[in-house]
Amino acid sequence: MLNIAETQFSSRLFTGTGKFANTHIMQQAIGASRSQMVTLAMKRVEHHDELKKIKDNTVEALRALDVQLLPNTSGAKTAEEAVYAAHLSQELLGTPWVKLEIHPDTRYLLPDPIETLKAATQLVAEGFVVLPYCHADPVLCKRLEEAGCAAVMPLAAPIGSNRGLLTREFLQIIIEQAHIPVVVDAGIGKPSEATAIMEMGADAVLINSAIASASNPCAMAGAFAQAVETGRIAYESGLGRIHFNALPTSPADTFLEQL
């Protein structure tokens, strides 16, 4: 079981709500993914400001699925804006969980490490459960861990790019060093890539575009669910070491045994 901020998750696949053609397909796909943690952009949540009320189909659909909501701060370009979005999500959705996303770079939506650390520090102090989307930067991930984040969410490749594990070497270091869960987010395009990163010991992955933009989102969600489970089982079972040469039995084996 995955444990984040004293909450247990039997599924290690997190999903998102963006890019789907309609709420029904989204709901079906998330159901098929067996995901228990789903992120949604606060900027897309339709609400009445004055009444502090939500009138949003996506939120209703997620509540029907009984998943942990992970509101995100997408659209924020600064720490201040992200903190604002987190406050709004706590107020409207009643959850302290927040996926911190701060990307001033409007083309590749790459996260701003400086603003992210700043916002994470403030939100943790305010009692939020903070999961920051960040670069696959091992030092930054340690700093975010020290700031009190509940997990780190380093990227595999730019958001929505489906380019796979471009940051593999750095993800490996992050996984090796982390004392909090590592959820690999962004850029994973294929189930096989999700398996690969889970085999490497990632605690979970977040997949949105690869599911939502598939021709059959439901079937793809199921494929990712299996892929993540497979990768985790392989990791827990202890993968065999990789050898570049054959390892013959030593001619001295019999002699050595006598020593």
Partner: protein, 374 residues
Amino acid sequence: MTPVADKLNAQDWDALSMQLYSKTAKDVEQALMRPKRTLEDFMALVSPAAEPYVAQMSALADQLTRQRFGYTMGLFVPLYLSNLCANECTYCGFSMSNRIKRTTLTLDQIKQEAAAIKAMGFNQLLLVTGEHETKVGMHYFCEVVTYLKTQFDYVMMEVQPLSTCDYETLHQAGVNAVLVYQETYQRRAYARYHLRGNKQDFDWRLQTPDRLGQAKMDKIGVAALLGLNDWRTDSVMTALHVQLLQQHYWRSRYVIGFPRLRPCEGSENSTTSGQFISSRQLVQLICAHRLLHPYVELSLSTRESQAFRDHASAFGITSMSAGSSTQPGGYSNTTKALAQFDTNDTRSPDEVAQALVAKGIAPVWSDWLQGFRS
């Protein structure tokens, strides 16, 4: 400092035009194959040589659009505040010499309009005026924006070019995006169409996106008015404009519009007939932009027909206006002021949304938070 406008000014229109008209089918095929495309590729894709490849271009544009934007379409509505105008542009219904009834909405009228627009479901608003500095200027804009931001999360403006300082003030007041269309990027043709008023200043207009970038506006819109001049060359300049802006002002997002000339009162159709862009060519152009800039918003107005707009997502369009009235006060009552141009798709926002849903595209009404101010 206007580095982007300076680089655009250094372009040789005629050389660019020659270059694009000499593109061959082989250039088009190479452009289609590339994982990342350059301005040279864009030239091939908007050239006459690419006309037989529009279906292939559309298939690729659809894929790229789904990857970045998913199955979604942003919806917004224009709010025409005033048709006063101190310019004389030969193609526009608002031109000062046109003897039409002029009006500027008061704050009370704007409140009625806002209520009517809210009832249609919109949360993203585009404010439009003619260009009249003294009567429809900064004081008016600030008052109007301050009120409208209490009603709408995302407010865009399409008004006369302003100074960097004014843009900073408007940004503070809550304006999120500004669209200023260059009409044509060719200086001598520009002079032919803009006969009186501040709009005659080609450079001030060309430098506007630089000023918007420096004012850190969230979104900046550019476009050429298709049909004024050679649309292919103007589109290459538009594409280059976006590329340069992205390099210099990386915190801003960009949106490309595709206004094409439609008949309106007082316009001289004879001056534009030679540059007419057909619907098929418009598809080619939209696809070419999507293939060059996978991340840029491409926007379509109600100038286009229902049938065209219902298919536009598959070419790469990611936002559109709906239910538009192009005359001031047109949502809450029928005033006698004249419209800037006739809309073609006259369906209600709800009907447009339903047509999108039927095509497997989710309308997006909200995509911003009030507290996002940078």
